[in-house]
Amino acid sequence: QKEVEQDPGPLSVPEGAIVSLNCTYSNSAFQYFMWYRQYSRKGPELLMYTYSSGNKEDGRFTAQVDKSSKYISLFIRDSQPSDSATYLCAIKGVGGTSYGKLTFGQGTILTVHP
């Protein structure tokens, strides 16, 4: 079992739709939860990070963490064609030899069509 599981999609939605992206993780020691967006031929861009259960909102993006079920989500409201990219969840270790290290999900390819 991989430490972080993410449905690779691809996911195709119409402009204006609400997008839900999800990951599960297995190690309860993970404490930081990140979402990155990666456009083709670019480096990953940090969208959001959080370290507590619950919701964190930033504009059209909402990150949700449920530590009890080891489940994290990213919601995109009013999706735009410019949101078309690969979305990567990543979980960071915070203690000992795992400090700062990111473990990534497989990435979900999202296409928002006009």
Binding site: P44, E45, L46, Y99, G100, L102
Partner: protein
Amino acid sequence: SAVISQKPSRDICQRGTSLTIQCQVDSQVTMMFWYRQQPGQSLTLIATANQGSEATYESGFVIDKFPISRPNLTFSTLTVSNMSPEDSSIYLCSVDRQGDEQFFGPGTRLTVL
């Protein structure tokens, strides 16, 4: 955020040769990391490069193949040695800010023939 640059942005190399990738950050950071992204895959951590100490490598990666230098708090290099076509990947450096945010460079796209 952090402004991170990498050189070269891309290269095509012959098998058996070596390539050194540079990573430059616009401010001092303690923790830097090197990742590999194989074609169509997600990112895998190669090693952690902290200034003043030896790089620490993840399982499956060894210093002889991927030597790393970290001479100061704004710069690091990763060398891919004795390359084979299986080394064709995107190599990315990242920096960790205050234990919270982690930012990535634009990547170096390597093709080995």
